[in-house]
């Protein structure tokens, strides 16, 4: 998965991104750091960003002399065992003086209220037990070791996530060692803004926020506006249910994003930028702010020495966490201190955005791809993926699938490869009637749709998904099994749209409420025959007349499930 840095000492990389933290990753990291103090510096422990197989978190990667090993489902109580495993010399020494298990488990004692302390954990075993207990602990760890050759890792092609999980996100030095800001410096030294834009245009990169608008074209539109102030905005208001791609970049490799934003600013002539992050991402906010402070301190932003021609500074703006604020005009209103409501377009933000000035808005993943394109060259990047959807895309794979987590693959990869090979297929659910078999894949969150299981060979690109009534969205991918009724799934997403509508326009504000009520009737098998027609008519009305993308896309989960699973709606109609 992640190559061991040549000549490096043995190290443990513990994921302390949000996913693993929610499973106890932070306590594990602390326990590992405490346990490693006694190793005399032969072993380093550091917190890193997402290690991708989130369903098995907390995850720890061990880079040792023999390569890299990955462990999952760890408990803080296992920190000592893991440290002893990673520092074998130390381990032997401790075993000889009979303190092995005690030293190993000391940091975890009492730190995990869920896992009860055992004799093995506490080291208070009967005389002679110290020899046997570590063997059992090692066997337990061995069973938690994950195969890095398994398709989940082997079939991925991390470009955006290449350093995520490898570097300490709080360390600018580590990022610099991996080449951070090299492309920014190169742009400033060697390339004109026009040349940078040409590279992005030729790469064929399309916006990763969902709509897939050509990024180069958007950059050109902003750059070619009349003289005057202009802005760059990074849309980090990720709010789709089941999506955490952007969060992983923000938490795992913040300098990559900062570099991408700075390059974009240089390319379009902006002197000021904003990263708009929702308040629900406190860790991402903290890491972005720290990274920004580090970059400023080193003079990478704000008029760095030797870069007099490039004056650029950034600010992290925290949004209250309204889904609609991911819509670009609502996001701009929110940055300006106004209520986060969309406005009709045109004018588009590229023409008139923040304070009426031309404003470039790109998604996190889009901007994080920019340094990769410049490093590889547009031609090499365009060769990945398909001719109309080049490059890689990060997906957040979740739901009824065996391996859940982050998956970065070339666009055009078959959905079956992602779900069945990389994801390991649907999760068996013994005891759930009909549960277990893969029924559909929901892509694109509340704006997207369902792709039925018999279309799994579809290549995942912008056009193919749209043709099936789904969409790429920002990359959420929820696997649905046969135990899930589709009207219920549609109702779930509609409830989200109802609660997240800004309330400005009537189709979205009142139409989604009526759609949710109609769906209730199908879910509860009390619909009337006329309700089906009413549902379709109202879906069309809300889709065609809503002011912004939230309302326009809100009926998509209903329309796509109606298209592929109509019989389930018909069975929701009450008999005479």
């Amino acid at each position: 998965m992640i190559a061991l840095p040549p000549g490096s000492a043995s190290q443990l990389r513990c994921c302390h991104a949000s996913g693993c933290r929610s499973a106890g990753g932070e306590a594990l990291l602390q326990a590992l750091q405490e346990a490693a103090r006694d190793t005399g510096g032969t072993l380093t422990v550091k917190g890193v960003g997402c290690l991708r197989l989130c369903g098995r978190g907390p995850l720890v990667a061990w880079d040792g002399p023999g390569g890299t090993a990955l462990f999952g489902d760890l408990r803080p109580a296992q920190a000592g065992d893991l440290v002893r495993l990673a520092s074998p010399g130390d381990h032997e020494e401790r075993r000889r003086d009979g303190q092995g298990s005690q030293a190993g488990s000391q940091p975890a004692r009492g730190s995990d209220p869920i896992v009860p302390s055992t004799d093995q954990d506490t080291g208070s075993a009967a005389p002679g037990g110290a020899e046997a207990q570590p063997e059992a602990a090692m066997a337990a760890l061995a069973s938690q070791r994950l195969d890095l050759e398994q398709p989940f890792f082997a079939l991925q092609r991390p470009l955006v996530l290449e350093h995520c999980g490898l570097i300490d996100p709080d360390s600018l030095d580590e990022a610099l060692e991996r080449g951070a800001y090299a492309q920014l410096q190169r742009c400033l030294r060697e390339l004109s803004p026009e040349q940078v834009r040409a590279e992005i245009r030729l790469s064929g990169l399309r916006g990763r926020g969902g709509a897939g608008y050509p990024t180069g074209l958007k950059w050109d539109t902003v750059a070619l506006q009349p003289e005057g102030p202009r802005y760059v905005v990074c849309n980090a208001d990720e709010g789709d249910p089941g999506a955490f791609m952007n969060r992983s970049v923000l938490e795992g490799d913040p300098h990559r994003l900062l570099e991408g934003i700075a390059i974009a600013a240089y390319a379009v002539g902006a002197e000021r930028g904003y990263i708009y992050v929702r308040a629900e991402y406190p860790l991402a906010i903290a890491r972005m702010r720290r990274a920004l402070a580090q970059a400023r301190q080193r003079g990478l932003f704000g008029g760095a020495p030797g870069t007099a021609s490039f004056q650029f500074d950034l600010e992290v703006r925290v949004g209250a966490g309204a889904y609609v604020c991911g819509e670009e005009t609502a996001l701009l209103a929110s940055i300006q201190g106004r209520r986060g409501c969309p406005r009709p377009r045109p004018p588009f933000p590229a023409q008139s955005g923040l304070w009426g000035a031309p404003t470039l808005i790109n998604n996190v993943e889009t901007l994080a791809t920019v340094p990769v394109i410049l490093r590889m060259g547009s031609e090499a990047y365009a060769a990945i993926g398909t001719p109309t959807s080049p490059g890689t895309k990060v997906f957040a794979l979740s739901g009824a699938v065996r391996h859940t987590g982050l998956v970065e693959v070339p666009l055009g990869t078959a959905l079956r490869t992602i779900v069945e090979t990389i994801g390991g297929g649907s999760l068996e659910q013994p005891g759930v009637p009909g549960g277990g078999a893969l029924k559909a894949v929901q892509t694109g969150g509340p704006s997207g749709g369902c792709i039925p299981a018999d279309h799994l060979d579809t290549p995942v690109d912008y056009e193919s998904l749209r043709a099936l009534g789904a969409m790429m969205g920002s990359g959420g991918m929820v696997v649905v099994d046969t135990g899930t009724p589709m009207p219920l799934l549609a109702r779930h997403f509609m409830a989200f749209s109802v609660s997240e509508s800004c309330g400005k326009c009537v189709p979205c504000r009142a139409g989604t409420v009526q759609l949710a009520a109609l769906l209730d009737r199908f879910v509860e098998h009390r619909a009337e025959p006329a309700d089906l027609q009413r549902l379709e008519q109202l879906c069309a009305m809300v889709r065609d007349t809503s002011l912004c993308g939230l309302g326009q896309a809100a009926p998509s989960p209903v329309l796509s499930t109606l298209r592929w699973f109509r019989a389930e709606y018909e069975s929701g109609i009450a008999g005479p």
């Binding site: 309204a322 609609v324 209520r339 406005r343 009709p344 045109p346 109802v498 609660s499 997240e500 509508s501 800004c502 309330g503 400005k504 326009c505 009537v506 189709p507 504000r509 009142a510 139409g511 989604t512 409420v513 009526q514 009520a517 009413r534 008519q537 109202l538 009305m541 065609d544 007349t545 809503s546 002011l547």
Partner: protein, 239 residues
């Protein structure tokens, strides 16, 4: 002043450059229903009643918030638009508590007028009957949230014409409601100048004079337009 020509429902129309599509539609003598729009206030495109089809544009455009341009082919009255308009009015009626017989605006209500215009004689959607309050704390006026359709004319007239910004919108989605001050009783908001412009521009019986009884509301919706024009043309400038 440059003039542009465009076609509205097949009829050629000439309007000054910079005109909105709604102005062009009206110049063609076509009555296009609106609720959130009021001349003199900034357009917001929220009620979606003035949506029109423009040839070559895949999405429907709100005429009030879209600029007319040379050579546009605009349709205002297709079967699809008629159906959508009617559905929007049904949604308005179903989301609030609009009982005309007990309303101060009965007979002088724009929502009522629009319902007649689009031929809405009943709603296909069940009424939600939300539990909404009445604010009678102001000495001169009252706010009945039951009649409010969230057109935000009051918000805009108070901000853009009176410059007091007493009104705003709180909450989201179906919970949206108009608030005074920092969500205070209207009568306790010091910024309110008691000018009554919000009452004048309200299209329904949501804002009304306390003295008004049933079917007695007498709004003055042209006042905002007159004030904006007078201000823009410096009619009150001291010599």
């Amino acid at each position: 002043m440059s003039v542009i020509t465009l076609s509205i429902d097949g009829q050629p129309v000439a309007v000054p450059a910079g005109s909105s599509l709604l102005q062009a539609v009206r110049a063609a003598g076509i009555r296009l229903p609106t609720l959130c729009h009021l001349d003199g206030l900034s357009p917001v495109g929220a009620c979606r009643l003035c949506l029109v089809q423009v040839e070559g544009v895949s999405r429907l455009l709100p005429a009030c918030a879209s600029e007319a341009s040379e050579g546009l082919q605009v349709q205002t009255d297709t079967p699809e638009l008629r159906e959508y308009r009617r559905m929007a009015v049904e949604l308005f009626f179903a989301e609030g508590n609009h009982e005309c017989a007990y309303c101060v605006a009965n007979g002088d209500c724009e929502l009522q007028d629009v319902a007649v215009t689009v031929g809405m004689d009943h709603s296909r959607f069940p009424y939600r009957w939300p539990n909404r309050s009445v604010d009678a704390s102001h000495p001169l006026f009252s706010l009945d949230h039951n009649r409010c359709i969230l057109c935000t004319r009051c918000v805009r007239v108070c901000d853009e014409i009176e410059a007091a910004h007493v009104w705003d919108v709180a909450e989201r989605g179906a919970h949206c409601r108009i608030i005074a001050g920092l969500d205070q009783p209207w009568g306790e908001v010091d910024a309110c100048t008691h000018c009554g412009k919000c009452v004048d521009v309200c299209p329904t019986g949501a804002l009304f004079h306390k003295a008004d009884g049933t079917a007695e509301k007498h709004p003055d919706r042209e006042r905002a337009q007159h004030l904006r024009r007078a201000r823009d043309q410096h009619e009150w400038q001291h010599r």
